[in-house]
């Protein structure tokens, strides 16, 4: 029998293997704030089973659950049956979009990337006062959030690279567009080709990304294979910094939020901690850390589509910061920083930075 939807062809066995144990309730950030089983991975798998059984068609009624997943993959990490819900959901979203059912926010994002170079439709690129398109061993790739929303963090990262005398160049970068694949659309080839061409033009041996999501996209999407073919290495800034000595430290109590894109999706847990331990001996772990870290709520397009829930998820994460009495929360994803900062209450006195931003601050203080 020919399957009606691509998610069935690709993931039928996995959807059937979900034993409905419900253990994903413990970790799903969307369930955590809504307590609504339909939004949990088990609920989503039950709904897709009904679709496979022919009892329900993919349609607008399913948008609220299938498009409300941060793709943080906590559920996959916990699942005793080895089911990987985010991958299944991403494919189901593509099936939904094909038949015309989609959350308007995601449709908007696809439209924006058709006509602009970044997800915010900003036409004037931020000027960070650094060389662009020069020949250099490294390209520093900022990413949309770092360029247009967390530009202070980006500026600090560039300052750190300068202090370490790293020979890098910026490029007129465009959105890596990987996120489109997460929200039901195809990656934008016009954009990916520009990035590949501009990176290769510099003759760089490596791209350092400020954004873990861009890093994932460059490493995993076939549209960026050109970089690998030319021997260009993709490194996230946290990997790049791990071997340097900085000669500065703080006595403040510091904790670290593992971004889903860096942690669960790339397995990078230790490198950021290596750097933090060097500069902050009073390092404490939050209750959920590493593979069990709670999502900040920004991923999978949820911040754009379900803003209130996204902020509530970030608040829940910040409660764990209070639990351990940290004064500084570090992370290494501009998207996480952005969402966590938006969620922080006035009464919460801790501060939120990227690791490089905080490091730069210490270096500045030390003169």
């Amino acid at each position: 029998m020919k399957e009606k939807y691509d998610f069935e062809t690709q993931f039928r066995d996995q959807v059937l293997r979900c034993s409905s144990c419900g253990f994903c309730r413990a970790v799903c950030p969307v369930f955590g704030i809504t307590k609504r089983p339909a939004l949990n991975a088990r609920g989503k798998m039950l709904i897709l089973k009904e679709v496979m059984d022919g009892n329900v068609d993919l349609n607008d009624e399913l948008v609220e659950t299938l498009f409300q997943c941060t793709t943080c993959a906590s559920c996959s990490e916990q699942c005793p049956s080895g089911v990987n819900p985010p991958e299944i959901i991403k494919q189901a979203r593509k099936d939904m979009v094909r038949i015309g059912s989609c959350h308007p926010a995601f449709e908007g994002m696809n439209q924006i990337l058709k006509n602009h170079t970044n997800i915010y439709a900003e036409d004037e690129p931020e000027d960070f006062g650094r060389a662009r398109h020069k020949n250099a061993p490294y390209v520093f790739f900022i990413g949309c959030v770092g360029a247009y929303r967390e530009d202070e963090a980006t500026m600090a990262t560039l300052d750190v690279l300068d202090r370490l005398e790293v020979d890098y160049t910026l490029i007129d970068e465009v959105c890596c567009s990987g996120a489109l694949e997460d929200v039901g659309f195809e990656i934008n080839q016009r954009l990916t080709e520009k990035n590949v061409e501009r990176i290769l033009d510099t003759g760089a041996k490596a791209v350092i990304t400020g954004c873990p999501y861009c890093s994932r996209t460059f490493n995993n999407k076939p549209q960026y294979q050109g970089l690998k073919d030319a021997g260009v290495e993709i490194i996230h800034i946290s990997q790049f910094l791990k071997d340097f000595d900085f000669g500065v430290r703080t006595d403040k109590v510091v904790t670290y939020h593992d971004p889903c894109d860096l942690g669960r999706h790339c397995g990078i847990y230790e490198e950021p901690r290596q750097t933090i331990r060097k500069i902050a001996p009073n390092f404490v772990e939050m209750r959920h850390n590493r593979a069990n870290a709670l999502c900040c709520g920004a991923g999978g397009g949820v911040r754009g589509a379900y803003a209130k829930n996204s902020i509530d998820m970030a608040r829940r994460r910040l409660e764990e910061v209070e639990e351990v009495g940290a004064e500084i929360v570090l992370t290494e994803c501009n998207s996480c920083v952005h969402n966590l900062k938006n969620a922080k209450l006035r009464a919460q006195k801790f501060k939120i930075f990227t690791i490089t931003q905080f490091l730069n601050h210490l270096l500045e203080e030390a003169g």
Binding site: S20, C21, K35, I47, E64, P80, S81
Partner: protein
């Protein structure tokens, strides 16, 4: 369900706590069992008054109400078999009081087991039953199903800790049972009547639990046995030796084979592997108990025994037991995690019978269990899309429970009757016992609105 009724329900809890969206109805159609039936609507009440109003309306308009916690039931207890309304209590999730001076806590039904455990840890206390679904299951669900777990042999199950309850009855009256005292024989023990009643008598809205100081030290050991009979004798002997292990678990040969085929653990494929844990306040105390247990293992021909020297080693010894469900879930499309209990001395007979039944019906039925209290979990593995196999599963299940009763056992040690065990109720309970149970149901819920169709209460 009538549109007007839905409107009334929405008014009772507010739009944000009511749903009849397709996605919610599908999600509430199932628990962790194979049973499935959609409700007509679902509500997340946040106050007792809302539950009172809902039940009054249901009793008057005569629609079914199924209370629900985390929906982790393995026997269909949380499936709304007759439709109606799901009353999801997970938004009533406050710990109302931790009163260490009186050794008790007061909680709302939606508090997650693990959250209470975390709150108690800072006092050095715990709520012992430790169900396998502890990271997600709710205390209301624990009480309504009388949940057990790995520590049953030493610490008992949920029923041993419930001191008092607040319950909304089907007619909307609020009943308070029990007392906040450690001892009370004041009137009928109504508390116990509601513990394990599977949501058929009332909706539990507040729970007072006795809690225990948590012994900080544990020792762990593992032993393998060539024959089930040797393992069985070891189990019995441990349990009458005067030492009560905090856990004594059994893993059978089929499970060991399945684990070996799907991991690199390289476990010995013997007829039985036992894991024991002792707990106490000093290392000497836990080691003393464990030495006795290892002596008994050896006396009963254990082929290997290993005792953990560190926390990491202890975890390694637990791997076979703890990885069993995951391995089985990954390699099978459908699993029925069965539940039965037999007198402890009959554990080897039961394990032998399970293995024979599997052979006879050409099925894989690996078994793990809480040997220390005779509670076993045969895991029936099958492919639900193969009608012939499904039929063999049904036949094997029926014969399994005939054997359980023949050995003086019980249909369920901790999962409940729900929908799954209804066909077997008559095997264990005679007419008088069924009559009395039905009279109790009739007394509390004459209109049969609460979780109808469960426990074989309808003739």
């Amino acid at each position: 369900m009538d549109k007007k009724v839905k409107q009334c329900l929405e008014e009772i809890v507010g739009a944000e706590n009511f749903t009849d969206s397709l996605i919610d109805l599908i999600a509430y159609a199932k628990d962790a069992s194979e049973h499935r039936h959609r409700p007509d609507a679902a509500m997340w009440p946040v106050t007792v008054e809302q539950i009172v109003a809902t039940l009054k309306l249901a009793n008057q308009a005569k629609f079914p109400v199924t209370p629900r916690g985390a929906g982790t039931s393995l026997a269909g207890l949380a499936v709304p078999d007759r439709g109606g309304v799901i009353l999801d209590l997970s938004r009533m999730d406050k710990i109302l009081a931790i009163n260490i001076e009186d050794r008790l806590v007061v909680v709302q039904p939606g508090v997650v087991y693990a959250d209470l455990d975390r709150a108690l840890a800072s006092y050095g206390f715990f709520f012992p039953p430790d169900p396998a679904s502890g990271s997600v299951c709710t205390l209301g669900g624990n009480v309504a199903t009388n949940a057990g777990g790995i520590k049953g042999a030493k610490y008992g199950t949920t029923k041993d800790y419930v001191l008092a309850l607040e319950v909304v009855l089907p007619d909307g009256r609020i009943l308070h049972t029990g007392s906040k005292c450690m001892k009370s024989v004041s009137g009928y023990d109504l508390t116990r009547l509601f513990v394990g009643s599977e949501g058929t008598l009332g909706v539990i809205t507040e729970i007072t639990l006795k809690v225990n100081p948590k012994p900080p030290m544990t020792s762990t050991a593992m032993a393998t046995f060539e024959t089930l009979e040797d393992a069985g004798r070891a189990i019995s002997e441990i349990m009458y030796s005067g030492i009560i292990p905090s856990a004594l678990e059994v893993v059978d040969q089929q499970t060991l084979i399945a684990i070996n085929q799907n991991t690199d653990l390289g476990l010995p494929e013997v007829e039985a592997l036992l894991v024991a844990e002792t707990d106490g306040y000093t290392r000497e105390e836990t080691e003393f108990q464990m030495e006795k247990i290892i002596e008994i293992f050896k006396k009963n021909n254990a082929t290997t025994t290993r005792q953990a020297d560190s926390k990491e080693e202890a975890e390694a010894l637990w791997t076979a037991r703890k990885s069993a469900y995951g391995v089985l879930a990954r390699i099978n499309n459908n699993l029925i995690v069965e539940d039965l209990a037999v007198p402890m001395s009959k554990v080897p007979d039961m394990l032998r019978s399970i293995s024979e039944l599997a052979k006879k019906h050409n099925l894989r039925i690996p078994t793990v269990g809480h040997a220390g209290d005779g509670n076993l979990h045969p895991v029936i593995c099958f492919d639900g899309t193969n009608p012939d196999e499904v039929k063999r599963v049904e036949e094997a299940s029926a014969q399994l429970f005939e054997k359980v009763i023949e050995l003086g056992g019980t249909l369920t040690g901790e999962h409940g009757i729900g929908l799954a065990k209804i066909p077997f109720m008559g095997l264990e309970h005679d007419q008088v016992s069924m009559d009395v149970m039905r009279s109790v149901k009739q007394l509390f819920d004459p209109n049969n609105i609460l979780n109808p169709g469960k426990m074989g209460l309808e003739e």
